[in-house]
């Protein structure tokens, strides 16, 4: 079993003539909290979508080493297969099943990788009932882990932004992942929620052994949480290092200081 969970090599993703990811290489160690930062439009979410099978890069390789040390090539795999292999994610704008309750949202994650039998579902034999019971227990355990037990039966659309993030994290964890990809988890949350969220993310890694890959704009949060960072700009990796190294890196400073002008150009 290698100690890398993600090994991304020379990935290029184009949409027509637009190059979204340009020869991106990065890796993540098992158990690492890794962050990807960069200005708007740098390709961070495209990277996430490529890692989870929603986008299909034209060049390069993405190797994910899941359970049992079996290496899996992500490119060309469908999103649900990637999820089954052990990659979970949250979305930039929370995507819950809004008309369902918090409990149901998480339960869907907990049971999605079980085999499905139409007859089993209709007859409700002991096997099916045991499976239901296990999913229920798992869901309750995860809701208490993220601190949403009290809101289990609330319609998820009525949750606050902070709670939606927790719900998405619980739903992702319910699929029993090796790595959790968080796309701007702190967006739209207040300072108190941010602190709780930081703590929750750290607990996901420490208590459940799930590696974390994070996109975030909130520098304070990133710098306090991440053990290592990659900086993307215009689809390319421009820097890599520990938070201290990144803070001192001239290329990063230029990208960020210059980014306000570039952002205006692009707007």
């Amino acid at each position: 079993m290698s100690d890398l969970i993600f090994d991304v090599r020379n990935v290029t993703l184009r949409f027509g003539g637009v190059v979204s990811l340009n020869d991106v290489s990065l890796h993540q160690g098992r158990g690492e909290i890794l962050a990807v930062i960069g200005p708007n439009g740098a390709g961070k979410t495209s990277l996430f979508n490529s890692l989870t099978g929603l986008y299909r890069p034209q060049e390069g390789t993405i190797t994910f080493e899941g359970r049992n040390g079996v290496a899996l090539s992500i490119i060309g795999k469908k999103a649900h297969r990637v999820s089954a292999a052990g990659v979970a994610r949250t979305f930039q704008a929370s995507r819950m099943f809004s008309a369902l309750t918090t409990f149901e949202n998480v339960k869907i994650g907990a049971e999605s990788h079980r085999g499905i039998g139409v007859l089993g579902a209709m007859v409700r034999g002991p096997g099916t009932r045991r499976g239901e019971h296990e999913s229920d227990q798992r869901t309750l355990e995860l809701l208490s882990f993220v601190g949403l037990s009290a809101k289990a039966n609330v319609i998820s659309a009525s949750l606050s932004y902070g709670d939606r993030r927790r719900l998405e994290i619980a739903r992702g964890l319910a699929t029993d992942p090796q790595v959790l990809l968080l796309d701007e988890p702190a967006a739209g949350t207040n300072p108190a929620e941010k602190i709780q969220l930081t703590e929750l993310i750290r607990r996901v890694r420490d208590e459940r052994g799930v590696s974390i890959l994070l996109i975030e704009h909130d520098m304070k949060l990133v710098m306090s949480l991440a053990e290592r960072l990659y900086v993307l700009n215009f689809g390319s990796v421009i820097a890599e290092g520990t938070p201290d190294e990144i803070r001192a890196n001239p290329a990063v400073i230029e990208a960020y200081l210059g980014s306000s002008e570039q952002a205006e150009d692009r707007a």
């Binding site: 999103a79 099943f97 869907i108 999605s112 579902a121």
Partner: protein, 452 residues
């Protein structure tokens, strides 16, 4: 405020306009040669309202417009209060109804009533309507509800599965020009499993390539599939009997009725509708039980997840294609059974039965009753089919059968305005509608556009 922008003026004008439309709709028809006949006729025609009032139609409708205006204004004034007090009086019964034993008791009573229904109506016309128009359409609506209501896939070609069920029955009982498989002519009872397996396979074959499409594209493709099946039935003269239907060619014979021969029990179904009614009722109950268990199982939740947000569903490990194909195949099963009943009961089948109009009718039942709600679609099918058949059987003055769909369309529009989630809405669907009105739920967009 300008006088014509006063609220009551608007209400009055709207009332007059609505009633004018109703007046024209229910009035005498024009024709292609004399297009104005309808307009002039509905103005001139003299009517008698239960002998109390004798006069021109437009006067009756003017009074109606004023009544409509009055009720509307009164509702605006006292409606909210009435509704609140109604809600508080109904709180206890509502709570009672939510309890499981009460609900099951209610369903049991309904089942008993359904059991006695053929004897209660006791009229040959209504007995055959019960089978051919109500039971069969309840089956079709239940099946389409799995596809449209549970999985959220707009299927405009549902009639195809009904047709495949009917033609499979004709085939295995030896009633088609093409010989039955292995030369064995089966009793229609054995056609039930065969037809159900056939339509489910057809669902998988159709679903696997097409269900990769979303929304409107899927609707168009399914529409095409429905047409293709009908056209096949029409044109493959040597196999299906073409437009003459089964039994249209020499050497073929009628599709037999069901018959049982089990030890001492011998029973033959005949053209009489009542025995068919009981047979169908048993299957309706079985399908209702099966589908509602599915709805509340892992599979039902996966369907809801896909309907709400396909990308998110995929990211938690649900394979959308697999579940959609499953919905197609499972929904097709009850339509296939409906096909067996139709074929066996009527002895002959014709391609002209399986039209696009039929697909749309079934969709109307589902939407009217409440997408995703099993009690809803059953109620929708019963109500709409009963009303339609009543209007056709005992047409009120001025009603023409060709106008039927116009009235059903109007009924559907009114229902969608006042009960957008249908007659008996499903809880999840009602939430979705409330949320989308509040701008909360996700549209079925492809990925959020964070493309660099």
């Amino acid at each position: 405020m300008a006088w014509w922008r006063q609220d009551w003026i608007r209400r009055l004008v709207t009332s007059l306009a609505v009633v004018a439309v109703v007046e024209l709709m229910t009035g005498p028809s024009g024709s292609f040669a004399a297009p104005t006949t309808g307009l002039i006729g509905s103005y001139n025609e003299r009517v008698s309202v239960y002998g109390l009032f004798v006069g021109r139609r437009w006067m009756v409708f003017l009074v109606l417009a004023l009544v409509f205006f009055g009720v509307w204004s009164a509702w605006l004034r006292w409606g909210p209060r009435t509704r609140a007090s109604w809600r508080s009086t109904m709180a206890t019964p509502r709570e009672m109804a939510a309890r499981r034993p009460v609900r099951w008791g209610f369903y049991l009573v309904l089942l008993v009533v359904a059991g006695f229904l053929p004897h209660l109506v006791n009229d040959p016309y209504w007995q055959s309507v019960l089978v051919e128009q109500i039971a069969v359409f309840v089956l079709l609506a239940l099946g389409l509800n799995v596809v449209v209501g549970f999985a959220g896939l707009l299927d405009l070609g549902f009639v195809a599965f009904y047709a495949i069920g009917a033609y499979t029955t004709a085939w295995v009982t030896g009633a088609l020009p093409t010989p039955a498989p292995f030369g064995i002519h089966l009793n229609p009872f054995w056609a039930i499993p065969v037809a159900i397996v056939f339509v489910m396979v057809a669902g998988i074959l159709l679903g696997t390539p097409t269900l990769r499409l979303r929304g409107d594209y899927l609707a168009i493709v399914t529409l095409g599939f429905g047409e293709i099946i009908t056209i096949f039935a029409n044109n493959l003269y040597g196999i299906t009997g073409g437009s003459y239907g089964s039994g249209g060619t020499s050497g073929s014979h009628p599709i037999p009725h069901f018959s049982i021969s089990l030890g001492p029990i011998h029973y033959r179904w005949t053209l009489a509708p009542v025995p068919y009614y009981y047979l169908t009722l048993v299957f309706v109950v079985l399908f209702i039980l099966g589908f509602s268990l599915l709805e509340h199982s892992r599979i039902g939740r996966a369907w809801t997840a896909i309907r709400e947000d396909e990308v998110a569903a995929e990211s938690v490990g649900i394979n959308p294609l697999k579940y959609k194909v499953m919905a197609f195949a499972i929904g097709a099963a009850s339509a296939g059974f409906a096909g067996v009943v139709t074929a066996s009961q009527s002895n002959f089948i014709f391609p002209a039965t399986f039209t696009l109009q039929l697909s749309i009718n079934v969709l109307v039942l589902v939407i009217f009753g409440g997408m995703g709600s099993i009690p809803g679609v059953v109620a929708g099918a019963v109500v709409i089919q009963t009303v339609s058949m009543y209007l056709i059987h005992t047409p009120p003055a001025g009603f023409q059968e060709s106008d039927l769909y116009m009235y059903i369309g109007a009924l559907l529009i009114v229902t969608m305005i006042f009960r957008p989630a249908g007659l008996i809405p499903s809880r999840r669907r009602r939430r979705e509608i409330i949320l989308s009105e509040a701008g909360e739920a996700h549209a079925d967009e492809v990925l959020t556009g964070d493309v660099a």
